[in-house]
C-alpha cells in the first residue's frame, strides 16, 4: 500500500464537493486545521492608527529576539579579566572583563556585529517606547474596561518585564556606564531594610561587583525574561483575538459588532507590511545613528566615572527620582533606614506601578459599571480619567527630566541646585496643575462638540443680512457625525440616599459607599450633556426664523 493511495490521506472526496489540496488535508487529518481556522481566516480587525502602537512593540520585539540570537554567538558573559589586543587600538593592552572584550570584538571585528548590536539596542528603545505609548492609548480610550482587565494586567506585566530586560541587557557589556548603573542598583538593594545586605551578597555572589553577576544576568536576560515575555505576549494576543478588538464609535459601529477589514488578506498584508516598515526603520537607525558606543566609555572599574552619566531613556525616571530626593536617613536602634534611596527607587515606582496596575479595578469600583465595553472612549468624554492620566504623565515627566538635571544645567547654564529644587516643587505642583488644566480642556472640548451637534459645523461662509448684520452660516452635521459625537454615555456622580433606613439602621457597607460617592463626585460632577430635547428645541426654533 503506497502512501499516495492510502485511503483517507489527501483524498479530496472526504471533503465533499469542496476542492481541497492534499497538503492541507494531510495537516487537517492530524491537526483539524479547517475547523480550527474557519472563524479566523476572515476575522475582522477595526482600523485606526492608534491600534498600531502595540504592533510596533511586537515587531520590535521580534527584531530584538533575532538580533539577540546573533549577538549570543560571540558575546562572552564572563567577568574574567583579560588584556585586550583587538582591532580597537585605543584600548590595546587595557585590562578588562571578557564581557567587555567580546563586546568590543562584536563591534569591531565581527562583520555586521556592530549593526546587530545597534539593531538590538535601537529596537529595545523602540520596544519600550511603544509599550508605554500603547499603554497610554489603552488608558486614555478606556480600552482596559471589562472584559479586558486581565489583558491590561498582562500588558502591565510585560511593561515591567521590558524595563527589567532592558536594564539587564544594558548592563551586560560591562562598560563604565553600565557598570556604574549596576553600582547604583547594588546601592539601591543595600538600602532595603533587614534583607538588603543579604540580597546584595546573594545576587552579586559576595562583594560588589564580584565575578558572578554578569553570567547570572546573562541567563536572566537571554532565557528567563524572554521566555516570560514570549509567553505573556502570546497570551496577550490570544486575548485580543478572543475578546475581539475594540473600535471607535461611528455610524454602524456598536458595542455588539466589530467593523473592519478581514485578517486575510487586508490585515495580514497591512500588519505584515508594517512589520517590515518597523524592521526597515530600525535597520536604517542602526546603520546611520550610533547608539551606546561602549568603546568610548572604557571598561568598568569602580573608581572611575565620567561626568554627564545617563542611563537609557526608560530608566531616566528612576534616576531622576534618586536625584531629586532630599537626603533623609534614619538611624534607629543600631540600624540604618536610607529613605534617601528607599523612597525614590522603590517606594515611588512601587506606588506609580501599583496605581497603574489596579486602575481598571479602581475605576470600575467608582463607576459601578459592570457591563462589557467595546466602544472606545474619546479622552475628552472622560475628563477626570484623562486628567488623572495627564497628571501621571506629568509626574513621570518631572522624574524623567530630573534624571537629566546635570545636562539641563550645563546646556542652559543653570545651577543644578536650583534645578533640583525646581523639580522637587514641580513633582507635587506639576501633576495637580496638569490635572486641573486637562480637565478644563476636556470639558471645553465637550462643549465644543455639543455646540457642533446642536448648531452644526462652522462653514466659514459669512452672510450679511439686509440690516447689515454679519453671521456665519452653520451647516448641520451629517447623521453619522451627530451619532459619533453623541454615542458616548455621560457618567454622572453616584447619588447616595439617606445613610440610615426608616428604623435608623445604618446601611451596610456605608463607609465604603461614602468613599465611593466622594470619588464619584470628584470625577463626574462636572459633565456636559447633549440631549435630544435640546436638539429638537433648537431645530424647532430654527423653523421659526
Amino acid at each position: 500500500m503506497s502512501a499516495t493511495t492510502a485511503p483517507g490521506a489527501g483524498a479530496a472526496g472526504e471533503y465533499g464537493d469542496v476542492k481541497t489540496d492534499p497538503v492541507s488535508n494531510w495537516a487537517d487529518e492530524r491537526l483539524g486545521i479547517y475547523k480550527g481556522s474557519k472563524n479566523l481566516i476572515r476575522k475582522v480587525f477595526p482600523d485606526h492608527w492608534s491600534f498600531l502602537l502595540g504592533e510596533i512593540a511586537l515587531f520590535s520585539f521580534i527584531l530584538i529576539l533575532l538580533s539577540g540570537v546573533f549577538l549570543t554567538l560571540w558575546f562572552n558573559p564572563s567577568m574574567g579579566e583579560v588584556e585586550y589586543h583587538g582591532s580597537y587600538l585605543p584600548l590595546d593592552g587595557v585590562s578588562m572583563s571578557q564581557a567587555y572584550a567580546s563586546t568590543l570584538n562584536i563591534s569591531f571585528d565581527v562583520r555586521a556585529g556592530l549593526l546587530m548590536r545597534q539593531v538590538h539596542h535601537w529596537a529595545a528603545l523602540i520596544f519600550l517606547m511603544a509599550i508605554m505609548v500603547h499603554m497610554l492609548r489603552i488608558f486614555f480610550t478606556g480600552a482596559f474596561r471589562k472584559p479586558r482587565e486581565i489583558n491590561w494586567l498582562i500588558g502591565f506585566t510585560l511593561m515591567v518585564l521590558g524595563l527589567l530586560e532592558g536594564f539587564a541587557g544594558y548592563s551586560l557589556p560591562d562598560d563604565l556606564l553600565s557598570g556604574t548603573g549596576l553600582r547604583i542598583a547594588s546601592g539601591v538593594i543595600l538600602s532595603i531594610p533587614i534583607v538588603g545586605t543579604y540580597v546584595s551578597y546573594f545576587l552579586f555572589g559576595g562583594n560588589f561587583p564580584g565575578h558572578d553577576f554578569i553570567p547570572r544576568l546573562f541567563t536572566i536576560h537571554v532565557l528567563l525574561i524572554p521566555a516570560l515575555i514570549v509567553g505573556l505576549v502570546t497570551a496577550h494576543l490570544i486575548l485580543v483575538f478572543v475578546q475581539k478588538h475594540t473600535q471607535w464609535a461611528g455610524p454602524g459601529k456598536t458595542n455588539d459588532n466589530v467593523v473592519g477589514l478581514p485578517l486575510l488578506p487586508v490585515y495580514t498584508a497591512k500588519a505584515g507590511g508594517f512589520m517590515f516598515v518597523i524592521f526597515g526603520v530600525v535597520f536604517l537607525l542602526a546603520g546611520l545613528v550610533q547608539i551606546n558606543p561602549i568603546w568610548a566609555y572604557g571598561p568598568y572599574t569602580p573608581d572611575q566615572i565620567s561626568a554627564g552619566s545617563q542611563p537609557d531613556w526608560y530608566i531616566g525616571f528612576l534616576e531622576g527620582s534618586l536625584r531629586m530626593m532630599p537626603n533623609w536617613e534614619w538611624n534607629i536602634w543600631g540600624h540604618t533606614l536610607s529613605f534617601n534611596v528607599l523612597i525614590p527607587s522603590l517606594v515611588v515606582p512601587g506606588i506609580l506601578f501599583t496605581a497603574l496596575a489596579v486602575w481598571p479595578f479602581l475605576e470600575q469600583w467608582i463607576t459601578g459599571d459592570k457591563r462589557e465595553h467595546h466602544i472606545l472612549d474619546r479622552p475628552r468624554n472622560r475628563p477626570s480619567r484623562t486628567a488623572i492620566g495627564v497628571g501621571g504623565i506629568t509626574f513621570y515627566g518631572v522624574l524623567w527630566l530630573a534624571g537629566g538635571n546635570d545636562l539641563i544645567a550645563t546646556h542652559f547654564h543653570l545651577s543644578v541646585e536650583a534645578l533640583t529644587w525646581t523639580f522637587r516643587v514641580l513633582i507635587f505642583l506639576g501633576p495637580a496643575l496638569a490635572y486641573w488644566c486637562t480637565k478644563r480642556i476636556a470639558l471645553g472640548l465637550q462643549r465644543r462638540d455639543k455646540d457642533k451637534v446642536l448648531h452644526g459645523r462652522e462653514t466659514g461662509i459669512i452672510k450679511v443680512s439686509l440690516e447689515g448684520e454679519f453671521t456665519e452660516v452653520h451647516e448641520p452635521l451629517s447623521a453619522g457625525e451627530r451619532y459619533r459625537l453623541t454615542a458616548h454615555e455621560v457618567q454622572k456622580p453616584l447619588e447616595l440616599g439617606p445613610a440610615t433606613d426608616e428604623n435608623g439602621v445604618e446601611r451596610p457597607g456605608n463607609r465604603a459607599l461614602k468613599l465611593r460617592a466622594k470619588a464619584s463626585k470628584a470625577m463626574f460632577s462636572d459633565h456636559v450633556e447633549t440631549t435630544v430635547e435640546e436638539y429638537k428645541e433648537i431645530e424647532a426654533g430654527h423653523g421659526h426664523h
Binding site: 562583520r111 547594588s186 533587614i194 455610524p251 454602524g252 497591512k270 535597520f283 534616576e319 538635571n405
Partner: protein, 357 residues
C-alpha cells in the same frame, strides 16, 4: 454594588421615544445610529489603468527589496569592516555598518511599503461587520461545566477524605521552599565585609596609574590625587572588589580653610599630614565614585546624583541625596616619607545598609 447605581436612562438609545410631531425635519431620534455608510470606491476600484499602475508600483517595491537584500550580502563581502569615514551630521562611521544598514533598511522598508500599498490600493476596503458575543458563558455551558467539575471533585473524594486533602495542601505549601533554600550558595554571608577595606596600619598610598607611593610633596593645594592601597594587586581575583571599597582621593587643604567645630577641625587636621588628607572616593549615597573637585571651595561632586561634599568641613554633605559625610582615612608618613594609612577607615565606606548603624 448593584445596577441601581448605574445611570442608564440617559443613554442615547433610551432617549428616543415620542418626539414632537410638529417638527418634521428631525427624525424620531436625531442621535440614532444611521448605520454603516455606503462604500466609496477608490480610484483603483474604478479605473483599471490605476489598478495596473498600483500593481506595477507594488512589484517595483518588492524588487527594490530583492536588490537591497542582495546588496547587503555584496556589501558584507566587499566593504571592509575596518574602513571608517567621517560624514557631517553622522560623525565617524564604519562603512561596512553603514552599507549593511542602508541595504537592509531600504530592503525592509520597500517590502513593507509594497505590502501596505497592495493592501490599500488593490485589496478590498469594504468594511465587514461581525457580531460580538458576551464573554460570559451561556447558562447551558455553565450548568454543564459546573456539574462536570462537581462530578470530578466527587470522584476524587477530595471532600470525602479530609486527611488526604489536608496533607496534600501541607505538601503543596512546603513544596516551594526548596526553591529558595537551594539558592543559599548564591553568595557568602555578608558578615562584616562591608565594614572593612584593604587599608591597614602602615599601608602605603600608591598612585593608581604609576604604582608609585604617594608623597606629601606630590599633593599641592588645589590638586586632586587618587590613591589605592599598595597591596591592591596582591590578589588579582579580588582586585576590583577591593578597589570598590578602598579607592581614596587625596587633597591638600590649608589649616585656615577648615570649617566646623574645633573638635572636628582638630580631628580632620590630626588625620592629615600637613593638610594632605585622604577621603573615601565612594559616594555614601549609592556608591558611585565622586569625581568632580572644585579647587576653590574644596567641594567634591558625585556626577551620578549630584551629591556635593565639602571636604573643608570634614566631607559633610552640602547638597544632594547623600546623607553621610565622605569618610576620612587617617594617614601619616612612614620613615621614607611615603604617605601611609594609620588604620582602616573608622566607619564603613560607600552606600548605607541596614546593619550599618
Amino acid at each position: 454594588m448593584t445596577d441601581r447605581d448605574m445611570e442608564t436612562d440617559h443613554l442615547p438609545e433610551n432617549t428616543g421615544g415620542a418626539g414632537h410631531g410638529a417638527v418634521t425635519t428631525v427624525a424620531e431620534d436625531p442621535f440614532q445610529d444611521p448605520g454603516l455608510p455606503a462604500h466609496r470606491p477608490r480610484v483603483t476600484d474604478l479605473d483599471p489603468r490605476a489598478a495596473k499602475r498600483a500593481e506595477r508600483q507594488v512589484a517595483l517595491l518588492f524588487m527594490i527589496a530583492v536588490v537591497g537584500v542582495i546588496g547587503s550580502m555584496v556589501c558584507y563581502t566587499f566593504v571592509p569592516n575596518t574602513k571608517v569615514h567621517r560624514f557631517t551630521g553622522l560623525g565617524t562611521v564604519n562603512m561596512n555598518n553603514l552599507a549593511l544598514g542602508l541595504c537592509l533598511g531600504f530592503a525592509f522598508l520597500a517590502l513593507g511599503c509594497g505590502a501596505i500599498h497592495w493592501a490599500r490600493t488593490l485589496m478590498t476596503d469594504v468594511d465587514l461587520v461581525q457580531e460580538r458575543h458576551p464573554m460570559k458563558s451561556d447558562p447551558e455551558s455553565t450548568a454543564f461545566a459546573v456539574s462536570e467539575f462537581k462530578q470530578g471533585v466527587a470522584d476524587s473524594g477530595f471532600t470525602k477524605y479530609p486527611l488526604i486533602r489536608r496533607s496534600l495542601l501541607t505538601a503543596m505549601m512546603v513544596l516551594p521552599l526548596p526553591a529558595v533554600w537551594l539558592l543559599r550558595d548564591l553568595g557568602p554571608m555578608p558578615k562584616d565585609a562591608l565594614r572593612h577595606t584593604l587599608w591597614a596600619p602602615g599601608m602605603k598610598l600608591v598612585n593608581p596609574n604609576t604604582g608609585q607611593p604617594l608623597r606629601v610633596s606630590d599633593v599641592t593645594v588645589g590638586t586632586l590625587a587618587l590613591a589605592n592601597p599598595a597591596n591592591l594587586n596582591d590578589d588579582p581575583d579580588e582586585r576590583i572588589d577591593n578597589l570598590a571599597k578602598a579607592a581614596v582621593l587625596v587633597v591638600r587643604l590649608p589649616q585656615e580653610a577648615l570649617k566646623g567645630s574645633e573638635a572636628q577641625k582638630k580631628k580632620q587636621w590630626d588625620w592629615s599630614v600637613d593638610g594632605v588628607m585622604a577621603f573615601s572616593k565612594i559616594c555614601t549615597h549609592v556608591g558611585c565614585p565622586v569625581a568632580l573637585y572644585e579647587q576653590q571651595t574644596h567641594h567634591m561632586l558625585c556626577p551620578c546624583h549630584q551629591s556635593t561634599f565639602d571636604l573643608s568641613d570634614d566631607g559633610k554633605v552640602i547638597f544632594g541625596p547623600a546623607a553621610r559625610s565622605l569618610p576620612q582615612l587617617p594617614i601619616t608618613v612612614d620613615a621614607d616619607g611615603n604617605l601611609v594609612a594609620v588604620s582602616d577607615f573608622r566607619e564603613p565606606v560607600g552606600p548605607s545598609f541596614w546593619e550599618r548603624g
